[in-house]
Amino acid sequence: MNVWKSIKIKRSFRQIKMEKFFKGSLVLIALSILVLVIAFLFTLIVQSLPSIKALGISFLFGKTWDPVANVYGTYPFLLGTLLTSFLALLISIPFSFSIAIFLGEYYPRGWFSEFLKNSIDLIAAVPSVIYGFWGLFVLAPLVRSLELKLGVTPYGIGIFTSALILAIMIIPYAASLGREMIRMVPSSLKEAAYSLGATRFEVIRNVILPYSKSGLFAGVLLSLGRALGETMAVTMVIGNTSIIPKSIFDPGNTMASVIANEFTEAASSLYLSSLIELGLVLFLVTVIINLIGKRIIKRFTAD
């Protein structure tokens, strides 16, 4: 009896020890990510101090980016980033939601469904520089002929072309997440609706979409994050000009592509610091958009 008791005590003590160790290491790893993000922000702020001091608020609203005269204003790039990302989102949403519903509800199993699912996931795996080349050599001439028909200056590249490329690149993010969400809708709910005489479309509209909307929106948010930060593909087809675009067919520039383009040869320290501040602004824009998105998701689920 006594021996058994002591073994049992020993065992449970070891188990507790293990539990605590496991929990502790999880906390440590989670915290280290937090520390990393804070360190990013901190480094960005410190390195952009010279330009914050020299330019102040005019950095955000200035319309000229002139490295020769040391005048830096990010307004055109801020506009370019937001314009390309939201336009891309607008184009991609019908596609990604359709794919999600198709694969989640109509054909959840079978070889065709698997094939389609894998090909869509592959879209996310293609390196962005390949999208850039494809955009420059295939999409740009197509857009140019469209522009000729519309009667705008036929640049072929610009905000619209970048948004198209981005839209293709971000489809899989919202589609994959949406598909998983739709598959998670309890079949009891769906069957109840069917038994009441609902058609398939009515089930999708009144049961599946309301049930999975927070997940669908989270997927959209994920795609938006990807679109905001995309650099290589955009820089190849956006036209890289710091003139403020007047229409969506005009060339423009985004914050990420300015950084990628100009960082290597930025000679003066104010120039370098301004580019880092541009990174800081991009960081903050992403954070703000994410926070707004989180609020919206919260409101969705609270309903």
Binding site: K17, K20, F21, G24, V27, L28, L31, S32, V35, L36, I38, A39, F42, T43, V46, Q47, L49, P50, T64, W65, D66, P67, V68, A69, L136, F137, A140, P141, R144, T153, P154, Y155, G156, I157, T235, M236, G239, N240, T241, S242, P251, N253, S257, N261, E262, F263, T264, E265, A266, A267, S268, S269
Partner: protein, 372 residues
Amino acid sequence: MKIKSKIKSAIVAALALAVTGSITPGCNGNSGKESSSDSTSSTTSTNGDDKTLLGAGSTFVYPLFSKQFSEYNKLNGLKINYQSIGSGGGILQLTNKTVDFGDSDAPLTEEQAQKMGVPALHIPMCSGAVVISYNLPEVKDTLKLNPEVLADIFLGKITKWNDAKISAINTGVKLPATAIVIAHRSDGSGTTNIFTDYLSKINDEWKTKVGKGTAVNWPQGLGGKGNEGVAGLVKQTPGGIGYIELAYAIQNKMSFAKIQNKSGNYITPDIASTSAASNVQLPADSKIFLGNTDAANGYPISGFTWALIYKEQNYSSRSQERAQNLVKLLSWNIHDGQQYCEGLHYAPLSPAAVSIAEAILKSATFDGKPIL
């Protein structure tokens, strides 16, 4: 409890480490660079391998350097590791003393020279031309452009190819009414520096409105990344015009314009006319932009690329042998090494440039004594 407190203290320690780690390089922005120079200078000296030299800088000169260095390796067994990270990066690495030499397509600016603290020598390695490429499928003859027209195009004052100013200098050529679409580099680049320096020299409006630099605020046009980006834009857009490195334009069989030089001659950009551009009275330190050259047969838009080394070679406990290897290598580059230029479409140094380069190399010292 014991374990919990242990974990707690571990977390605290990790946090402290992470925070201090992130603060120290951040807080003293500049000294971060200096501390890296300490660690790396020790690597250059402690690796003790004086048979390997390190260089970094211009991407423009990279194909030539690879060829020259591999040939030199066959002759002398000296290994040279050159990273083509861009002129700005090369200058930064030399400032940090992580490389033996840098290479830049522009002379050091005052700010850069000040950061270096000690005098650095500029040794011209070769020169390159920037050509004006255009896309007019209807036009079979080579287009001629003069400085005034060129500047007006890039300022956005001439917007159609059949503008009277262009037809006036291209008599007999039937020009289409196509709109001009300008393509420029979107990345910071020595090519842009050479081209905008030329425009600033020949046009006052350009000088005051735009100026010169590796990246400028373009009044007009689309930006493409790298020579291939600009070339792609020009090739794709009917009516496109852009500036590209000579070597790239030749290799890709692009059409480019003859440009009128200071003496009034229309010059086709090629290796001979680019070399000729540097065959003029050069300053003793060779720090000159060759744009708008005085040479009568010289192509007006060209520039040197310079290898950069410290004048006093005894720093961070370098060996004399290392310094000697470096100076000898550069001396070979400007003499025997020049034979590899033409095959790769670089313009070899003109006789005037070689003699200046040699004089500059001879001024390099080790402990105050000349090396060559």
